[in-house]
């Protein structure tokens, strides 16, 4: 009994007494949320697909605007950050705090590079004459990718707060599940980008 009690002091919330399915409430909650987020991005992608060709006669369309090599690199960066976050989790599971911390930081940096790339892309588009209010393509494109960017940014904040926790020595094996849940969110954001990258950028316009 005392052993369980000790373990639970490290576990910061012991609100989940019963577990019918033998899984943690937190993790199930994250999955339920991700299931619902599919509908959010589905709606935004559909809106974009509906509007992408509705541009004025003199406006630049997707074909002219997109810089595929650049976006490919930033997509690749985000894809690889999915690997690094998994490595952070497995390192933590092995109680290898130091390596876990390094992978955490790497993931956050890769995410930041992606968001930075997106900001750069937006600026270039703006300079070339595609603003948020220019036409339906601009409006729906910036909204879709902006929503994704906000999701990535939230993920970076969560990763950084885990990193700060680890700097203060609070990242232990007991936190493994918390990191795993953040990881799930991060992978989901990556998966959404896989879809956006293919449908928005690569599909023949």
């Amino acid at each position: 009994m005392t052993e369980t009690a000790t373990a639970q002091t490290t576990h910061d919330h012991s609100e989940d007494h019963v577990s019918t399915l033998g899984v943690s409430n937190d993790k199930l909650g994250m999955w339920v949320f991700l299931g619902s987020d599919c509908l959010l991005f589905g709606g935004l992608i559909s809106t974009y697909m509906l509007y992408k060709d509705r541009i004025g006669p003199d406006d630049l369309g997707p074909e002219e605007m997109f810089d595929i090599p650049f976006t490919s690199v930033s997509s690749f960066v985000l894809l690889m950050s999915s690997l690094t976050v998994v490595l952070a989790i497995t390192a933590l599971r092995r109680n290898d705090i130091r390596r876990s911390r390094i992978w955490l930081l790497t993931t956050a940096i890769l995410g930041a590079v992606f968001v930075g790339g997106q900001v750069y892309e937006f600026t270039v588009f703006y300079r070339e004459g595609l603003g948020y209010t220019t036409n339906l393509f601009g409006t729906s494109f910036f909204t879709l990718t902006g929503f994704h960017g906000v999701h990535v940014s939230v993920g970076i904040i969560m990763l950084m707060s885990m990193y700060i926790q680890s700097m203060r020595g609070r990242l232990t094996v007991a936190q493994e599940e918390k990191l795993e849940i953040i990881g799930l969110y991060w992978h989901f954001v990556d998966v959404v980008w896989i879809v956006i990258f293919t449908i928005v950028y690569l599909f023949p316009q």
Partner: protein
């Protein structure tokens, strides 16, 4: 929860690289190769291929990448089935609903309506049967 298990498990091994990591790294390599193929279609000579072929190839690669990340990185492959069900339910609702909306807006007007119905209903139907089957098996039921 199973915190005690984790403690003993965690302190057991201190090596830095283990088999598990290699699975993830291999997956990442596969994903990278697929992304490479995807981007390759952008280049001039390939891009001249008919649109339907490009769309088909790209969609196929996208779906594979999607499932690889979900199955291995998000370890749906060996985690409790309830997680997969939640995700799949979201996808199964999103897929037909948004496509019906797209069709109502005249998306893919040259498709045969029967083809549209098959396209809409087959993926959710397959998953629906699977969900129903596993539901019969008793999701997390005590006896």
């Amino acid at each position: 929860m199973a915190t005690t298990d984790q403690l003993t498990e965690g302190t057991g091994e201190a090596t830095s690289w283990v088999k598990e990591d290699w699975v993830y790294i291999k997956t990442a390599l596969i994903l990278a190769v697929f992304t490479g193929i995807e981007v390759f279609t952008y280049f001039e000579s390939v891009h001249k291929a008919p649109d339907w072929l490009l769309v088909l190839t790209l969609s196929f690669l996208m779906v594979i990448k999607f499932f690889l990340v979900a199955a291995i990185f998000m370890h749906l492959r060996d985690d409790n089935a309830v997680f997969t069900k939640m995700m799949v339910m979201g996808l199964c609702i999103a897929w037909p609903v948004y496509f019906v909306m797209a069709f109502a807006f005249g998306f893919l007007p040259d498709w045969n309506p029967i083809l549209k119905v098959i396209f809409l209903l087959v993926p959710p139907a397959i998953t629906g049967f699977w969900l129903g089957y596993s539901f019969k098996g008793g999701t997390g039921s005590h006896h």
